[in-house]
């Protein structure tokens, strides 16, 4: 790329040859109006708003599609440019309804702003305007297509970024409409970004419809903590309530996009199910009490019991500060019984696998092997980076229990039930080691290899820049630790990077503060033991625990005293808990999220906590003080974060033996829909109404169904059965928004 000099409005500026005039102008802070141009999308050059005068050209040129060349002299505001801008503006407004007073885009509308700057103050148009009937495209996006100016940003977003072409331009001339095919609703997990790219009020947020005028809100910088990326967002608040969440640019984290989960989960904050007041159970009856009384009850219950009989369990979505304080409290009490890994079949689990690739690094891979993951729904922004790599020619192969719907082509996929995954991966490893002429470890000596494994191994070793991704479905696998070990070995043998997405949310904060037993009991062992006192941090066993019935049963014992810090009320928690301390939810507390790149992102509270609920770090600090534990004199959550971040957890390498374990003949892989992945999303009505949110099916092959004596429409663990051949033999793949049942 050659560095060139051009002149814009008399200023000498630099660019590289081939770069568009508009992108140079943007970098230099020179305003050029535009509608269809978007820095992350292809150039359509259809709105003509960006016309500028380029000396030597008889006609004005679109700045978005005109490449700069050395010595070019551009005028953005001489007579010629102004006349074109005014003409285009007039043309665009011919059919626009100008219903700004009732439009949710009002005040943040590119059309309004540009009309103000470049338009005329009188309209010459007396004819009838065209009207477009709205079809309705789902629960998240409100359409008012009469306002559409046909810039096709939303169409290009679907085709180029979301990877699902849903919106299109149908008809022609005056009949041209932007719409999806039929009104089956938008299916992308990134659909909300269309609201952000739409320059007018044609696509707006449905849950935000008519809530408040945009200029009445304040924007607070925050971080979404539903997944491993920690997308940067602005929460927009009004009178102490979060009214909307929009993307905040951060090129190395989420670029300019956010997932629908990050965008719409805030709706749950206003759900009527919030836990708002402290409560204690007296003779089996719940009583609302003051914080003092509730905390008193909590500590007297905890004090009554010995340290060995104390256990702490926390949500993966808790903040770094909360996790740090709860582990400190537990350890100061003298207990090592603590865990966040509630949903894993085997708590020695897959957490040891290191992530060795950055988010931007993912865009440069030429091969990705995705194991045990529906990555598109689990980690939308990570998947998006891999999709970008595929657009540059990267190939993707998968080893999964089911054939999932990715938004890129999967070159090869191996269906593998959990009980066969160790064998499948062992085969791959064996091929790799043999082709490197490396010595085989004992456990691979007897391994047989088939063609599919050879193909995967060859693809990986041919790649210069490979990555192996391990996803969250591995948590259903009793041999998760072996799978993780094999992934590590495979990556080593093929010189590939690894990405551990086996646990989501703020899991890396839990790792950072060692929120797991060092000699004590893990989650599963706690539920097998008879502990006498528990502190649960935003835990909802019915959803969160791998064996929910056993967990609830254990917590319901008469001699189990349970203090539950909850942001939402939950029937099963009410049934077994003794004290409920209402907890500030997402965006109501300051905190820190550690993302997949180990970047700690701190944020302040966007709004005050609902009702009488309080930020977790304050509650835990006061609990510790009342328990007279030393070292809790914090006055600010940032002090807690500083202490937590100064820890360097010992990465004691645990020995994992690859052995044939006793596993059931038929395994269950249980995965929640992305909108049932944590307590806040589960309470967001709009997310629940989407196509992704409504899925609840147990997919099983015909042969496996026969063994289990299941037929189409029966229920398996409470979830309707769907028999088809997209799933591996010997397992049931449950994808649901329902709580776990036995």
């Amino acid at each position: 790329m050659v560095d060139i000099e051009i002149e814009i409005d008399g200023n000498v500026v630099h660019g590289h040859s081939g770069e568009s005039i508009i992108s140079i102008a943007d970098r230099e802070g020179i305003d050029i109006p535009r509608f269809c141009y978007h820095k992350k999308l292809s150039v359509a050059a259809n709105c003509r708003m960006c016309l500028v005068d380029v000396e030597g050209n008889p006609k004005p040129q679109p700045a978005c599609s005109t490449p700069a060349s050395a010595g070019m002299r551009v005028h953005t505001n001489n007579e010629k440019a102004k006349a074109s801008q005014k003409a285009v503006m007039e043309f665009l407004l011919i059919n626009h309804p100008l219903d700004c007073p009732i439009c949710d885009q009002g005040g943040e509308c590119e059309l309004q702003d540009v009309a103000m700057e470049y338009g005329s103050d009188v309209s010459k148009f007396n004819e009838g305007k065209r009207i477009v009937a709205d079809k309705g495209i789902g629960a998240l996006i409100q359409t008012d297509m009469t306002r559409c100016i046909h810039c096709t940003r939303c169409v290009r977003f679907g085709a180029e970024v979301a990877g699902i072409v849903e919106m299109g331009a149908t008809g022609r001339g005056e009949e041209l409409k932007i719409e999806p095919f039929l009104s089956e609703g938008i299916q992308s997990e990134l659909s909300g970004n269309m609201i952000d790219v739409c320059p007018v009020g044609a696509l707006t947020s449905k849950p935000f419809r008519y809530e408040v005028r945009s200029w009445q809100m304040s924007s607070v910088q925050s971080v979404a903590r539903h997944d491993l990326v920690g997308s940067n967002v602005f929460t927009q608040t009004h009178k102490g309530k979060v009214k909307r969440v929009v993307a905040r640019d951060n090129e190395s984290v989420n670029e300019t996009w956010i997932s629908d989960r990050d965008r719409f989960s805030y709706e749950g904050l206003a759900n009527e199910n919030r836990a708002l007041t402290p409560k204690i159970k007296v003779k089996g009856e719940w009583q609302e009490v003051s914080w003092e009384t509730a905390l008193e009850a909590a500590i007297s219950g905890i004090k009554k019991n010995s340290a060995e009989a104390f256990g702490a369990l926390a949500s993966k979505n808790a903040t770094l500060e909360e996790l740090y304080l709860l582990q400190k409290l537990t350890r100061e009490l003298g207990s090592e019984n603590l865990d966040t890994r509630l949903d894993v079949a085997n708590p020695s689990s897959a957490s040891a696998l290191e992530t060795t690739i950055s988010l931007t690094g993912l865009e440069a891979v030429d091969h990705a092997l995705i194991i045990n993951s529906y990555l598109r729904l689990e980690q939308p922004m990570i998947n998006h980076r891999i999709r970008k790599a595929t657009l540059q020619g990267a190939k993707v192969s998968t080893v999964n229990a089911k054939a999932f719907d990715f938004n890129y082509r999967v070159a090869s996929s191996v269906l593998s039930a959990p009980q066969n995954t160790v064998v499948t991966l062992s085969g791959v490893l064996k091929v790799l080691l043999e082709s490197n002429s490396q010595a085989l470890p004992d456990y691979l000596k007897g391994t047989k290899v088939n063609q599919a494994q050879i193909d995967i191994a060859n693809a990986l070793s041919a790649a210069e820049n490979g990555v192996v991704v391990l996803g969250e479905q591995v948590s259903s696998n009793p041999c998760a630790d072996q799978v993780a070990k094999l992934v590590e070995q495979i990556a080593k043998a093929s010189n590939a990077k690894t990405l551990n997405a086996s646990a989501t949310g703020n899991t890396l904060s839990a790792e950072k503060v060692s929120f797991k037993p060092n000699g004590g009991l893990n989650a599963k062992q706690m539920f097998d033991a008879d502990l006498n006192a528990f502190v649960l941090l935003d835990v909802y066993p019915a959803f969160d625990c791998v064996d929910s019935a056993a967990a609830i049963e254990n917590l319901s014992r008469d001699d189990a005293f349970v203090v539950a810090l909850n942001s939402f009320e939950d029937a099963s928690v009410l049934s077994f808990a003794d004290v409920i301390l209402p907890l500030a939810s997402f965006y109501e507390t300051s905190g820190t999220h550690i993302n997949i790149e180990n970047v700690a992102q701190s944020y302040s509270a966007s709004v005050k906590a609902a009702g009488d609920s309080k930020p977790g770090w304050k509650v835990l600090k006061v609990l510790a003080d009342l328990l007279e534990l030393p070292g809790f004199d914090y006055t600010d959550s940032s002090q807690v974060a500083d202490d937590a971040l100064s820890l360097s957890p010992s990465l004691a390498a645990t020995e994992v033996d690859i052995i044939a374990m006793e596993v059931p003949n038929i395994a269950t892989v249980w995965q929640y829909t992305p909108y049932a992945s944590d307590v806040l999303t589960r309470h967001s009505q709009s997310l629940q109404q989407t196509q992704i949110g409504q899925v609840s099916e147990a997919t099983v092959s015909e042969a496996t169904a026969k063994i289990l004596e299941l037929s189409q429409g029966d229920c398996y663990k409470g979830v309707p059965v769907n028999i088809n051949e997209t799933v591996a033999e010997g397992c049931v793949f449950v994808h649901t928004n329902q709580a776990r049942q036995r």
Partner: protein, 157 residues
Amino acid sequence: MISEQAKQQIDTWVAKYPAGYQSSAVMEALKIVQAENDGSLTSELIQAVADYLEMPVISAHEVATFYENYNHKPVGKHVIRFCHNISCMLNGADDLISYLETKTGVKTGEVSEDGLVSVKKVECLGACVGAPMFQIGDQYYENLTPQKIDEILDGLQ
């Protein structure tokens, strides 16, 4: 949904493009499928074409709604495709369309009761020198007048 015979015809078009560019055959495919369905398309047929050519259904729908060659409602045996673009409009196309409508008793976009004719307004057919004009089947009729329209209609069966 699409007959074997139609699939074979589509395949000959697909073969004209490089491998992986099968969606380039979408216009012909829609035409073939439309012909098989008495001259009009349905959402299901568009979906079937998109599936067959492995392309997003909305993209096939865009093509099917952009070009006037495709009909989205049942049509008569003869489709009178009346140009109402600039040259024809300046030469009185609108009046002639009303004349045609009264004469046949068929409104634009509808089919006569006996199923013989339907009328459709279309964009420029590239015959501006002979404006106003319409097309029936493969035949262009140019420099239209009410008398000429009467004669043409009388000849239809």
